[in-house]
């Protein structure tokens, strides 16, 4: 375990950046969901790191991490269900073809 908070935060920022890039750049809906998971976990990592380095925040950080995990699980479930439903109708996982709600 590194003794530097900055190292964890840089890692967290990197993961978040990769997740954002993945969400914006990938056309596959499943890959986009994975990118979202990456972003959530990047945030989780940052929160837990703050908790580990600041005693006063320890309990809060753990609580936040647990809630984020729960939300991430729920989000993955709902997201996958939606993606599967759309896939059955459209026969494609590519989101840029889901444009029937445009102006």
């Amino acid at each position: 375990m590194s003794q530097s908070l900055e190292a964890y935060l840089i890692l967290s920022a990197l993961l978040f950046g990769i997740g954002t890039f993945g969400f914006l750049a990938r056309r596959n809906a499943i890959a986009m969901l994975m990118a979202i998971e990456l972003m959530l976990n990047a945030v989780n990592l940052a929160a837990v790191a703050f908790g580990a380095f600041t005693p006063a925040l320890q309990v809060h950080a753990a609580l936040i991490a647990l809630i984020v995990m729960a939300v991430a699980a729920a989000e993955a479930t709902v997201g996958l269900a939606i993606v599967i439903a759309i896939y059955r109708n459209r026969r494609t996982p590519l989101v840029d073809e889901y444009a029937s709600m445009r102006e």
């Binding site: 914006l24 029937s100 709600m101």
Partner: protein
């Protein structure tokens, strides 16, 4: 049946209260029934309406008898509340009635002339297919007018005030297919609105000042408030003048006099009832009713007197030149109403009511007579196309001659006594200018009345030769009312006015006007028949006789015809004056210029402002919103990643801003 009674004195028995209610319910029921089933009655459409009004007359006369002769209700008169009408917080108005000496005196005219006009209309309207409508409206008018007379608070009076206006409008425009009639009805309605606006403001001012609208309380509290210094003198004068504005509109005084002559477009019985004997007197009646307010506002009284006497001479001058027989009578009505207002203005309240009563009878008679003449010569109203009728329609001629002598002020007929009382009292109360103009108007009145008589009845006939052999006296239903009106036109003045200054009417109205006369410090000297009063009496009689003699000299009498050459030479010499009077001193033109033309320009400007600026602002906001929406909706691409990019960019902006602002 139980009616709530005010605990005040003079509440009368239940029979009396029932009579007042019957007085209003009968014509109202007659109106409703005639309106509903009158059409099915064909020629007999008059049956319900006329019987309702005859019963109303009986009820009215009994009430008058109880009030004036038996003096059953004491000084305050019969007062009672039918029910609570409006009770909203502090604003409480009841439907309450009062029958005191003043109301009873006016009831004599309203009931009697109303009843006779109804009977007369049976014959006059016999050939009109819309007769059921006519009788329904006539009953509605009777209800409204009676309500106006017995109302005991300002709001109820205002309702009745508007209702008589409505009936008047409906009846002026009775022959609504004739454009001139429809326009005249509209004109009457609009001009009356001007007056009623002031009247409504006056009522509101009274409400905000004393917080009640009941006559008995208002007339007590307002002078008390002035005495206690709670309100200023100009408040009192302002309230009086606002109320007077309503009277000016309804009684057709200068400058709102223009509607009455045009109102002659209505059927002649309507002109007799509404526009001569009753409705136009409402203004006089109301100012007399409000005498405690006016007595506290001498400035307003001066305005009343000035407007009255000015209208009197203005209208008399116009009556000189008119050719339409009904218009001459209409201007004569204006002139006589002017007399009444002059009397009110100088403080001679009793004289004004006296003239109201006598004028109601003889002017009703003259109008009904003119209707009979018009009927005889087959709907011709131009006096230049009449003449020589006295042999052919003798009853009409005889009764109209009585009416003309009565209005000319020749003793001992009714008009002399009331007119003389107005003139004498204005002189004695120090308004010598009212007296002087009044005497001139008396000469003019007699002159134009005998111009009318000469042109219509005497000399050689100018009637259309095709109509000439068919001229006939009117049916009995028309001649009997004429005779019945001629009797009071002769006797009523003596019955009510003698002995001079101490007659029956003076005793009756004494309690009503007593306080006002004391407030005004009017001299109350005994009548000196061989002193000043005798001289004034003589001057009045001489004025009437002079006008009558001149009228007869120029326009003939019985066999002797009009001196046409002399008259034409005279009018030629006075051409500008004649033209001015003939054009009614251009008041219609002036109104047209100010209100129709100039007012039209202002209205168009306001219309432009409304459409362009007000509506434009509202529409502009809508257009901007729509345009913005149309532009912005292009960013809705339907691609989730475009939206996500937006969110990411937003997040970046927020984060960077935060770093720069806070964490720097």
């Amino acid at each position: 049946m139980h009616f709530a009674t005010e605990p005040t004195v003079g509440s009368g028995g239940q029979l009396d209260q029932l009579l007042v209610i019957a007085l209003l319910a009968l014509p109202l029921a007659g109106f409703a029934l005639t309106a509903l089933v009158g059409r099915r009655l064909y020629e007999r459409a008059w049956v319900i309406a006329v019987s309702a009004v005859v019963l109303t007359w009986l009820a009215g006369m009994y009430l008058v008898y109880r009030t004036l002769i038996e003096n059953a209700f004491g000084e305050t008169g019969l007062r009672f509340t039918l029910y609570e009408w409006i009770a909203v917080g502090g604003f409480e108005v009841s439907v309450n009635f009062t029958v005191d000496a003043l109301a009873a005196a006016v009831l004599i005219v309203v009931c009697t002339v109303g009843m006779l006009v109804h009977v007369y209309s049976i014959g006059y309207m016999a050939h009109d297919p819309g007769r059921w409508r006519f009788f329904a409206y006539l009953n509605l008018f009777m209800f409204s007018m009676l309500l106006l007379v017995v109302a005991a608070n300002l709001l109820l009076l205002f309702v009745a005030w508007e209702l008589v206006g409505l009936s008047s409008y409906l009846l002026i425009g009775f022959w609504y297919r004739r454009r001139s009639a429809a326009l005249a009805a509209k004109k009457a309605f609009l001009v009356n609105r001007v007056g009623d606006f002031g009247f409504a403001l006056g009522i509101m001012a009274i409400w905000t000042t004393v917080g009640t609208l009941n006559f008995s309380e208002v007339f007590e509290f307002l002078p008390a408030a002035l005495g206690a210094g709670q309100i200023e003198q100009w408040h009192m004068a302002g309230i009086a003048l606002l109320l007077f504005t309503g009277a000016v509109g309804k009684s057709a005084q200068f400058p709102l006099h223009v509607w009455l002559p045009d109102a002659m477009e209505g059927p002649t019985p309507v002109s007799a009832l509404i526009h001569a004997a009753t409705m136009v007197n409402a203004g006089v009646y109301f100012v007399a009713r409000a005498n405690p307010i006016f007595a506290q506002a001498p400035e307003a009284m001066l305005v009343v007197a000035a407007i009255g006497i000015f209208t009197a001479i203005l209208a008399a001058s116009i009556a000189f030149t008119q050719r339409d027989i009904k218009r001459v009578l209409a201007y004569s009505t204006l002139s006589q109403l002017g007399y009444m207002f002059a009397a009110l203005g100088v403080g001679a309240f009793t004289a004004a009511i006296f003239h109201l009563i006598t004028h109601g009878f003889f002017k009703g008679l003259l109008f009904l007579g003119s209707g009979s003449v018009i009927h005889a010569v087959h709907d011709e109203q131009d006096m230049n196309r009449m003449g020589g009728l006295w042999r052919k329609i003798p009853i009409t001629h005889a009764t109209m001659l009585i009416g003309a002598i009565a209005i000319a002020g020749i003793p001992p007929l009714a008009g002399f006594w009331s007119k003389d009382e107005i003139l004498a009292e204005s002189f004695k109360f120090g308004f010598w200018w009212v007296w002087a103009i009044g005497v001139v108007v008396a000469v003019m009145t007699a002159f134009y009345m005998f111009r009318l008589m000469g042109k219509t009845f005497y000399g050689k006939s100018n009637v259309d030769p095709a109509v000439e052999p068919k001229i006939h006296e009117s049916p009995r239903s028309m001649t009997v009312p004429l005779i019945l009106l001629a009797i009071p036109s002769v006797l009523l003045g003596m019955a009510l006015g003698l002995p001079i200054g101490d007659g029956a009417l003076h005793h009756w109205l004494e309690p009503v006007f007593h306080e006002a006369q004391e407030v005004l410090h009017l001299p109350h000297e005994p009548i000196a028949l061989f002193g000043i009063d005798g001289v004034l009496l003589l001057v009045g009689a001489t004025a009437g006789a002079l006008g009558l003699a001149l009228g007869i000299y120029f326009f003939g009498f019985f066999g002797r015809g009009e001196k046409r050459a002399t008259v034409e030479r005279l009018t030629d010499r006075l051409r500008p004056l004649y033209n001015a009077a003939y054009q009614k001193w251009w008041f219609d033109h002036l109104n047209d210029l100010i209100f129709v033309r100039f007012g039209g320009v202002v209205a168009r400007a306001l219309w432009w402002f409304d459409v362009r600026i007000v509506d434009g602002a509202v529409n502009g906001i809508g257009a901007v919103t729509q345009g913005a929406g149309r532009g912005i909706r292009h960013i809705q691409t339907g691609r989730v990643q475009n939206y996500a990019l937006g969110i990411a960019a937003g997040l970046l902006v927020i984060a960077v801003t935060y770093l720069f602002l806070v964490a720097r």
